[in-house]
């Protein structure tokens, strides 16, 4: 399914979300729009990604601002309940009851998602465990599973009940390359017909999965648009040099022994094809902190 970000209606609208912890502004007036499909949330450590996801997942209320998701306003008890009924949330550090088996744990979450009919619930639990490729170990206690397997159990718990809005906080952390590919496939499938917000440090996750991307830094949105638009911002601003370029915003040695630099290139520089990562690094720079429509 192809999603046109220009014509797709918004399923989530956030305006001026703010939240502080003590003297720290974790979110500083975040406004954004989400549509169906997978939106990537990029940002450095401490950018406010996890806090934003926790607010949008109704785990913590914002100090200021508002948002509606799938038509529900979580500032009322009824609105929050209605949104939670359509929500799947994979936290950054998912917790488990270690003595539960994978099946029992996802079944418990399914009950908490109000799936009361035992037969239908068990079918749903088997479906999501199968989707994350854990059918073979569903009878194993969680304390006996590897970190990657437990991460998949948490994803299964988020997927149970077929939620319309999925919030995934760094789901590929700690996974080996094969598991990461499998996860990408799962998330791409989940994005068909659903609104998925995916926080990650991996620009390649965004490049492969997302039809839109939001860059967050210092609790503020630095960029909102398509991955192609983010990449295009770096066009003409990436160059190669034999030595580290002193005026570059960032530069690093490549495997070829040359330096890849981003910023304002000197005259006659050997320009390179930009990547999403180049665009992301430029978006983090203060001068480029404008938001594209």
């Amino acid at each position: 399914m192809t999603i046109d970000p220009l014509t797709e209606p918004s399923t989530l609208r956030a305006d001026g979300l703010a939240l502080r912890f003590g003297g720290t502004r974790a979110l500083d007036g975040v406004s954004l729009r989400l549509t169906r499909g997978v939106t990537g949330l990029l940002g450095p450590n401490g950018a406010g990604k996890t806090t934003l996801l926790r607010v949008l997942a109704t785990a913590v209320p914002a100090d200021d601002g508002r948002f509606t998701a799938l038509g529900h306003d979580p500032r009322t008890a009824a609105g929050r309940l209605a949104l939670r009924r359509e929500l799947g949330y994979l936290p950054q550090t998912p917790g488990f009851h270690p003595d539960f088996t994978a099946f029992e744990f996802v079944d418990y979450v399914a009950i908490l998602k109000e799936l009361t009919d035992r037969g239908a619930r068990h079918r749903e639990v088997r479906r999501v465990l199968d989707a994350v490729d854990l059918s073979d170990v569903r009878g194993k206690r969680l304390k006996r599973l590897s970190g990657g397997m437990r991460q998949r159990v948490a994803l299964a718990a988020a997927l149970v009940g077929d939620p319309g809005f999925l919030v995934l906080d760094e789901p590929t952390v700690g996974l080996d390359p094969e598991q990461r590919m499998r996860f990408r496939d799962l998330i791409a499938q989940a994005g068909e017909g659903r609104t998925v917000l995916l926080s990650t440090h991996q620009t390649e996750d965004v490049a492969m999965l997302c039809h839109r991307v939001v860059v967050l830094a210092g609790g503020r949105v630095r960029f909102e648009g398509t991955p192609a638009e983010l990449t295009a911002r770096a066009a003409g601003r990436v160059w190669s040099s034999a030595e580290r370029a002193p005026g570059a915003l960032a530069g690093w040695r490549t495997g070829m022994g040359t330096f890849r630099n981003i910023g304002a290139p000197p005259a006659g520089a050997d320009l390179l094809e930009p990547t999403l990562e180049d665009g992301y690094l430029l978006a983090l720079d203060g001068e480029s902190a404008e938001v594209t429509a």
């Binding site: 806090t51 914002a62 500032r75 209605a82 488990f96 270690p98 029992e104 979450v109 109000e114 948490a154």
Partner: protein, 241 residues
């Protein structure tokens, strides 16, 4: 004339609330077994066993006779039980189940409904283990035990409400022990640890009743999930931000 949009929203909200009430009743049965399994059984068992051993120690032949030593032992027994209950709200899966429609308060109430009758039975057993000549007045000592238990639950409730920590039992137990130490160091005339022989025994019972009332109010106030941040703020404990 009322706006149609507002009316439609109110009707939707009423429907959601009605659904929630119906669903809560339907949900209790499937929730019972998993919630029972999430209880911190090890902490509760150890605390309960220690408490009963303490109470049983009054039956040893060399135990000092009289209500004073009996009261001291039963206070230690109550503290032991409260230390176990400090772990009642521990939930290792808190992050994973934080945003489900069946919210944390319902699970908390279920845990309390499972643990408190057993606690009452345990306390009755502890009282019966103390021989009649050593046993202090039952109502005052039970009031003190109830207040100590409520204090443990109130501390745990506050820790859950204002932090993101999934396991608050350890910090709650430390706070409870600190409170107990403060109570011991406070002069009996103004404190909580008078004996029946003291002239200020009656005012002490009023203080215990006040502790019970305040701690129950804290539990009632901060168990529900907030819709806004409120004046008292939570702290961030996640690794990210």
């Amino acid at each position: 004339m009322r706006d149609d949009g507002v009316e439609a929203k109110e009707m939707e909200a009423a429907q959601v609330t009605a659904d929630a009430r119906r669903d809560t009743a339907t949900l209790l049965r499937p929730l019972l077994v998993p919630v029972w399994r999430t209880l911190p059984r090890r902490a509760l068992t150890i605390a309960g066993a220690v408490g009963l051993l303490l109470a049983a120690s009054t039956r040893l032949p060399d135990h000092a006779p009289g209500a004073g030593p009996g009261l001291f032992v039963l206070r230690l027994t109550a503290l032991s039980g409260a230390l176990g209950l400090a772990f009642l709200l521990d939930d290792p899966a808190r992050n994973t189940s934080a945003t489900t429609p069946v919210a944390r308060p319902l699970r908390t109430v279920l845990r309390l409904a499972m643990a408190l009758p057993l606690t009452a039975l345990w306390w009755t057993t502890a009282l019966l283990l103390v021989p009649s000549p050593t046993r202090p007045p039952l109502l005052p000592v039970t009031l003190q035990a109830a207040a100590t238990t409520a204090a443990a639950l109130a501390l745990a409730t506050v820790a859950v409400r204002f932090t993101d920590s999934p396991e608050v039992g350890r910090s709650t137990a430390i706070c409870l022990l600190t409170g107990a130490a403060v109570a011991v160091l406070t002069p009996n005339r103004w404190g909580l640890l008078a004996t029946p022989a003291d002239p200020w025994w009656e005012p002490t019972q009023l203080r215990w009743a006040a502790v019970l009332g305040v701690t129950l109010a804290v539990c009632a106030l901060w168990t529900p999930e907030p819709l806004g941040q409120g004046l008292l703020r939570r702290t961030a404990t996640t690794s990210g931000r």
